[in-house]
Each structure stands twice: as C-alpha cells, then as structure tokens.
Amino acid sequence: MKDDSIFELSPQDKTAIDTWLAQYPADQKRSALIPALHIAQKANGGWLSEAAMKAVAVYLDLPQIQVFEVATFYSMFELAPVGKHTLCVCTNVSCLLSGSDEIVSHLKKRLRIDFNETTENQQFTLKEVECLGACVEAPVLRVDEAFHTHLTPEKIDALLAELEKKG
C-alpha cells in the first residue's frame, strides 16, 4: 500500500514545473499553480493528496491555503483516489437538452457505480461536471484528457470496450 502522507516531487516533475515558472515574473510563482497541481496529480496516481498539495506549496513558496483553495475550486483536481480513467459527464443545460440524462443512466448501469464512485476493478471513476465548453457537440463526456462528443449509448459501449481492452 502506498502511504498517502508522503509525497515528493521528482526531479522531472520539478523541471516540468520550472518550465512553467519561467513564463512568469519571478515574484509571481502563484501563476504556475494550476500546471504545477496537474503535474503533482499525475505523479500521485491521478489525485492530489494533502502531502502532494503541500509539496506544491513548498515548491512554489505559497501558503498552503492558497494551494488548497485552487485545488478545491476546479473539478479537474481530484482530492480522493480515483480509478485509472476518470469519466466526467456534463449535465449542464445544453447537454441536458441533448440527452445527457440517458448518457448518465447508461454509464451508471454499465459501470454499476454512481457519481463520485469507482468501479471495483479500479478502472473507472464517474463524475458529474458543469459545462465543458463544447456545447455545440453535446452531449459531452471527458475521459481523462480527451473529449468525446455527440454521445449515444452505443458510442459509450464502444468507448468503454476500447478502454477496457487497453487495460
């Protein structure tokens, strides 16, 4: 079992953060906070533990509360362990009108989980999110970092099958 109370940024992570830092004035490290959190989240297996947030705070020389504020504000930051893939369904107005209800119920049935739950095999976590900014192609689902649009239950089955095959 991994100990969640311990987290350290690897040299590679630090270099990655440094390239972001280089884009901002030296006294405005706070600007690099979001990319730094993404980097830490990836390094920590897809979610931000307290230790991971603390490591970012220390590295960017920020008060911990400022890191916590940003991490809790954005839905792309996970504050609890997640499965290998995170499925974020938009249920906002445009998607709702284009049938996101059906997408949601299909996903729940197929994965046998509710929102904010993870499948037993630790493969998928299902989340409900607000507008993903792709309304023209509603209904929309974000899987990890990719958008899947104009969804139908069939498309979802195919998508899940593919992800399962990849393992």
Partner: protein, 793 residues
C-alpha cells in the same frame, strides 16, 4: 476633488474613490457586508447596489469609482428593489435563528435584514450546513452563518500578513476555513471577530456570556504596550465582560492586538488578592485597611528612623498610571530615599528612557507608514508592539525598505531588504563600522569608544571573516537606508535591555542626526514615558541590579512579580528574602510573595481605576474606571496618599486623581547628554555563550500571564532554550534534548531547540516563566555546559 450628488446632496470626494466612501463621508448609509474601509474591495456580496444616473442597472457602490457630476440615488425604488433582492439571496442559506446566535443584537446582517429583508422566507428547501473550524482558544466559529464576504480572508492577507484562511470549494460548496486546524498564528487575529459581519467568527472567551444590549461601554487605554491603543471596556453589572478596540486613526486605527483584547480574562484569576493581609509570627492574616496601612507606615518609618536615608527601595511596574508613579516617588523621596525604579528589565542606567531627549526627532505612530526606509535595531516589532508592527508592514507594502540589525532573524510578516544578524554584544561593532564610514580620521578621535572599538580592538568582533561579513552587511543596510527620503530608526526592547543600551542609543542618535531620520524607542510597559516624567527613577546612574545588590532592609513592590518581571530574578528573590520588611501592592498573590512579603495590599487593575498613561510618541491619554474595585482593592495612588498622610508628608492632600496630574512635570529633567565620550567604558567582550533574555508577548506582565485564553493560543509556547545548530553542536547540546538543572532547591527542566535564525553563541532565553526564573545574566545550566567544555579541552 470632484463633486458628485448622492440622494440630492452635493459631496466632494477624491477622484478615484468609490461611491460608498463619498457617501460615508456625509453619513449617507449604504448597506454593505464585504466592504471595509481598511480592506481591499472585493465586491462579492452585492448588498451595496445603488442607482446611478445613466447606468442601465444598479451598480455596487463599493466598487464604482466616482466621476465628476455623477448622480447617485441610494433609495429609489430601483435601488431598494436590488438591495432587497440581494438580501433575500443572502438569507437563503443563512440560518434565521438570531436568538440563539452569539452575534444577535450586534450583527450587521441582522440589522440590514431588519431594513431590507422580507418578513417571511420564500425559501423552503434545506439550508447549507458547514462544519465548524477549530481556530484555537481565542476565536469561536459557527461557519454555517458565514456569508462569504471574505473580510476575514482579506484581513489575513492584507493587514496581518498571515495567509491561513481562505475560501475553498466553489459555488454552493464554497466555505471559509483554514488549511490546518487551530493554526491562526497571529498577534492580531482577534480583529476578524470585529470584521465578521455575522456570527460566524466570535470571541471564544466572550461566547454566550452576555448580550450586546446588556453591556455598558467605557473608554480606556490598553495597559500592556507603549502604543496607547484606545479600547472600550464592556461591562455588565460591575463585571468586565470583554474589551474591543475604539477607533483612533492616529494610534490603533480600527484594530486591537490580541493581548489588549483578551488580557481582561486574567482580571479575576483565582489568585486575585481582595483583602489586605499581614504576616504575624510567620502566619498570614487578613486584616482591615487601617491595620495594614499603619503596619506599613510603622515599619517603613522605623527603618527610615534607624537606618537613615536611601535604605528603602520601591520597585514599580511601568504599567502603572502616571499619578500612581508620581505619588510613589513622592512618598519614597519623603522617606529620604530616591531608590525608586520602574526599569525592571533595563540594566544600563545610562540609557535614557524617554523620547523627549530628541523631541524633534520623535516619529509619530501614524507617520510610520509614510516612511520609505525603516531600520529596526534589536527589535522584534511584531511581538513587542503588535500594532506598530502592522504600521511597519503597511509601510513595507507601500514600498518602504525595511532593514534590521538583530540577534536573530524574526521572520516578520513583511519583507526585509537587508539584515545583519549578530549577537547582541556585536551590535556596537556593527554600528561603529557604519559611523566610521561616515567620519574622517580626525573626527574619529573625538569618539574614543568608537576609535577603540574599531582600531585598537579589532579582535572585539571575533574572527576576521565574521568582521568582513558584518562590514558587508552593514554597508548594504547603509546604502538602502541613505537612499530613503523619509527615514526612521526603531530601537526595540532587546537593544534597550542590553547592558550596552546607552552606547547603542548614542550611536542611533548620531545616525538620526546625520541622516535627518526620525526615531522611536520601544519603551517598557504602557507608561515608561510617564514614569520618567513622574520621576520614578533614581537621580544617580544606577540600575535595578544595584538595588538588589544593595541588600536594603526594606523593599516596596507595586504590581511587580520580580521572579517573572525582572532581568535578575534570583538576585531579586535573594534580596527580598533577606530584607526585614517587604511590602507588596499587587492585584494577585503568588506563592513567592507569601514567602518574602510582610504585608500584602490589594490594588486595582487597569479596569478598576482611572489615570493617565503617556505613550511612545509622548501623548498623554486618560483611562477610566470601568467597574468598581473588586473586594477591598484600592487604586495604588490612594494607598500612597494615605501613607503620605500618615507620615505627615506635605503634598498628599489630593481628593481625586485629576488633581495629581497637573503636578506631574511635563518635561523630563534634562539628563546630561553627550556624544559617545570617555564617560563610557567599552564593556568587556565575553567569550562563549551569551544569554539573551526576552519576554514573550504573552508573558509580559502579571495580568497577561493570567489570561488563560492567551496562554493556550497558538502563539504561546512552553519555554525552550533556543540555540543556533552550530552553537548547539559546539557546546554539546542536542536538539530536543531535555536539560535539567538545580535552581534554589528545585529542579528546572527545559527542552533545547535549534534554530538557524539565531546568531551564533546566542542563547535565546524566554523570561516570565517560573522555569526560567533563575539568574538572568548567565543561567546555571549554560555555565555548566561551558565549564564542561573547558574541562574537556
């Protein structure tokens, strides 16, 4: 100045100021929650919406800058509709249960809801509930009541410089909290209680103790530091219920430090003395005032008759009122003794504890924020005079360069441009280096001490590398300081309590003259300035240490606990034990007092009498009695009045304290003052460890030490021996090791902490604790370690 119109009234205001500021100026009330004149504009509550001509929709008055000729209406149907709508939104999630809320009766939300709220809520869904946070012993939370105005968050970031509170989550899930529980490490945290417009943040010690409408309000002056912060004491039925700040822009603005706000909780401590007591045949007995006073009179008169002049000493607190200090010294001088001392911690008698010696150089408190170069010398400003620290921080945020010469890096809540961190005894060398760089060789001759310091005694400052480093650091401080237009030098308690304080003072006076800089001396207690004016010190150059060494037959203590308040506690206790008569006027009894005293007289603490205090800028302010003295306690000035009358001394027939004030001189007797002349002998440099005693913020006087919530807050810590890691290693101390030593029969144990912020060889030693109440100059345990080391070598 431009002119706008608000509700038909013409208002002149600064261009760029907001509508709400202009309206406040003429007393037009616009409802608001997030706006506060001392904080940045957040404009997140929308309560201040007003109608502005030519604008399509209502605008937030707190975030709309005025323009010439603007016409604002705050009470049109449109504006009122907007305000009512916002009110309804705010109340959606806010509990409607004011009767069980601690803020009820003094709540901004409640007040505004009375004016703008509906009588029935249309919202029938469940309300949002938020878990309370544990913010420590001073502040209680009821976070479900939070309306997310972020005043508390902005106060932390902008004023106090602690970024510990924040808004997490978003939308309906937003909440205000801290990242770590119980972590509000700030000496001014209590201000968020006043700022919070609702009952989300309230005073923990005051919680559910009284309702606002039951309280009487009395103006007073905070009695712990020389700022002279204006406060209100709130009382109910003769009990002090709480203390809140009274706005005074030129002194404390709208703030109170936590020490000033919560020290009242010590007023009725268990060991409060309520009746006079005399010791007869080793037994303590309560007695009435006339017996107690005649006992004191007889004993002191007897000693005066038989032992002659200067055989009685009075040691008085610098927190007493000027009137008390004046009568105390008058009484003592009436007994032909001039041994009256208020300098409990200052050991260099040549140090001149008054700003009056350089009156035209004295900076006012308000001026501090306008400075653009501030040089701190031996000064932990945040923890000495917290609200002055806020002014320095303000200056720093406005671009001032802050510089310091300190025995450790205090990690202030503002940035420092350059620092020189050296042990106290190297201070003079550092300042001499600076002065030397300004003087020609022949000028230097007039300064024997300097000359000696720099030329003949280069070893004075240890290793050549160390010297070079100091020279470089001083040079960078000098460069920045000289470049400032408005300059200020602040001499803090660590420098003032140093054995070389007068030399440091002289050097600073010289620098101030040279650069046309202003000066502030952070004097002791709330009224050292008043004590000097009242004459509560000997004419001769002698310090409190001399008083203890003199082994006098009689000592009189007023509001002093020598083992905790004085630099040389063990010496003090010895002198008191050996004296044949010790009279203690105190509000609280300690076990030690019961051992050494012969008579105990209960005196009234600051909330129970009236008088004047003179603050660090020389301003005399009066404070009032908020409640009657508890039990049989009396103001010390009345006790001295009776003693003076019993001794048939002239000049003690005052009816009220206000008759005393005009008799107190307004000019300090001119102390002989010269530059750094021969009068001064260069003190011997000591090798090895140096004990640097300091008084932690919440151990500063008897009342504060009894304020339990302050003792339990995040800023209070158990005493430790702090050393630089290298110094610790050299002397064989291990980090976190517990060190015990014998001290007058009992064993004291302290933990060693290593801290790289300290200068080398410095032992940072907290006073005001029974554990550290040992010989102050070099504690026995430090001596032991040094001896062990020598033996090994």
């Amino acid at each position: 100045m431009i002119e706008i119109e608000i509700d038909g009234q013409k208002v002149e205001a600064e261009p760029g100021s907001m509508i709400i500021e202009a309206a406040d100026k003429v007393g037009i009330k616009i409802p608001r929650f997030c706006y506060h004149k001392k904080l940045s504009v957040a404009a997140n509550c929308r309560m201040c919406l007003v109608a502005v001509e030519k604008s399509r929709k209502p605008l937030p008055a707190c975030a709309t800058p005025i323009t010439d000729g603007m016409v604002v209406k705050t009470r049109t149907a449109e504006a009122l509709a907007a305000q009512k709508a916002v009110m309804e939104f705010l109340l959606i999630n806010h509990p409607l249960d004011c009767p069980i809320c601690d803020q009820g009766g003094e709540c901004e939300l409640q007040d505004v809801a009375m004016g703008y709220g509906k009588d029935v809520s249309r919202f029938t869904e469940g309300k949002r509930v938020i878990k309370d946070k544990n913010l420590g012993s001073l502040i209680a939370t009821d976070m479900t009541r939070c309306i997310l105005c972020t005043r508390c968050v902005r106060f932390g970031e902008e004023i106090a410089g602690i970024v510990e509170m924040g808004v997490t989550g978003r939308g309906e899930a937003s909440e205000v909290g801290t990242y770590v529980e119980e972590h509000l490490i700030s000496e001014v945290s209590g201000n968020i209680i006043d700022l919070c417009p609702v009952g989300a943040l309230t005073s923990k010690p005051f919680r559910f103790k009284a309702r606002a409408w039951e309280l009487n309000q009395h103006t007073s002056i905070a009695p712990h530091d020389p700022l002279g912060a204006n406060i209100y004491i709130h009382t109910r039925n003769g009990d002090v219920m709480r203390v809140v700040p009274k706005e005074c822009e030129s002194i404390n603005e709208t703030w109170a430090s936590d020490r000033d706000r919560f020290s009242y909780t010590g007023l009725n401590a268990e060991d409060r003395l309520l009746k006079p007591m005399v010791k007869a045949h080793g037994e303590w007995q309560e007695c009435d005032w006339s017996l107690a006073l005649s006992t004191v009179h007889k004993q002191l008169e007897n000693i005066h008759q038989h032992c002659g002049e200067d055989r009685i000493a009075a040691v008085v607190s610098p927190n007493l009122s000027s009137e008390e200090l004046y009568l105390a010294q008058k009484y003592l001088r009436g007994l032909e003794s001039h041994y009256i001392e208020h300098r409990l911690q200052q050991v260099d008698p040549q140090f001149i504890p008054t700003p009056l010696l350089a009156r035209e150089r004295q900076a006012s408190i308000a001026e501090v924020e306008d400075m653009d170069a501030i040089f701190l010398v031996g000064c932990d400003i945040q923890r000495e005079v917290p609200l002055l620290g806020l002014r320095v921080r303000k200056a720093s945020l406005q671009g001032a360069n802050i510089l310091s010469l300190n025995p450790l890096d205090f990690h202030f809540n503002f940035e420092q441009k350059a620092q020189c961190i050296v042990s106290m005894q190297t201070f003079l060398f550092a300042l001499a280096v600076w002065i030397q760089s300004e003087l020609k060789a022949e000028e230097l001759k007039e300064w024997p001490v300097l000359d000696q310091l720099i030329k003949q005694d280069v070893d004075y400052c240890g290793h050549p590398d160390e010297r070079a480093l100091i020279q470089a650091q001083i040079e960078s401080i000098r460069k920045v300081f000289v470049a400032g237009r408005q300059k200020l030098i602040i001499m803090g308690a660590l420098a003032i309590n140093d054995p070389q304080a007068s030399l440091i003072q002289q050097a600073l006076l010289w620098l101030a003259e040279r650069y046309d800089a202003k000066l502030i001396f952070l004097l002791a207690g709330a009224n050292q300035h008043g004590a000097v004016l009242a004459g509560a010190m000997p004419e001769q150059a002698m310090s409190i240490v001399d008083l203890w060494h003199a082994k006098l037959p009689a000592y009189l203590l007023v509001n002093v606990e020598p083992e905790l308040d004085c630099t040389h506690p063990a010496l003090a206790l010895k002198a008191l034990h050996d004296a044949s008569c010790v009279v203690v006027m105190t509000a609280f009894v300690t076990e030690k007092m019961l051992e050494y005293a012969d008579v105990l007289l209960p005196i009234a603490p600051f909330s129970e009498y009236a008088g004047t205090l003179v603050n660090l800028e020389g301003k005399r302010q009066a404070f009032n009695a908020a409640v009657h003295p508890q039990g049989e306690a009396r103001p010390a000035w009345k006790i001295f009045r009776v003693l003076g009358q019993l001794a048939q001394m002239p000049g003690f027939d005052y009816d009220t304290w206000t008759e005393i004030t005009p008799d107190i001189p307004t000019e300090a007797s001119k102390a002989p003052l010269s530059s750094l002349t021969e009068r001064y002998r260069l003190p011997q440099r000591q090798a090895g460890l140096q004990l640097l005693p300091y008084w932690p913020l919440y151990r500063s006087d008897p009342l504060v030490r009894r304020a339990d919530p302050l003792q339990r807050c995040a800023l209070s810590a158990d005493p430790v021996i702090a050393l630089h890691p290298e110094t610790a290693a050299h002397y064989g101390f291990k980090a976190n090791e517990a060190v015990s030593w014998q001290q007058e029969g009992h064993v004291a144990t302290l933990i060693v902490k290593t801290d790289p912020s300290l200068s080398l060889d410095t032992v940072y030693w907290p006073m005001g604790f029974s554990e550290t109440a040992c010989w102050g100059a070099l504690a026995p345990l430090v001596l032991e370690r040094m001896r062990a080391l020598e033996e090994n070598e």
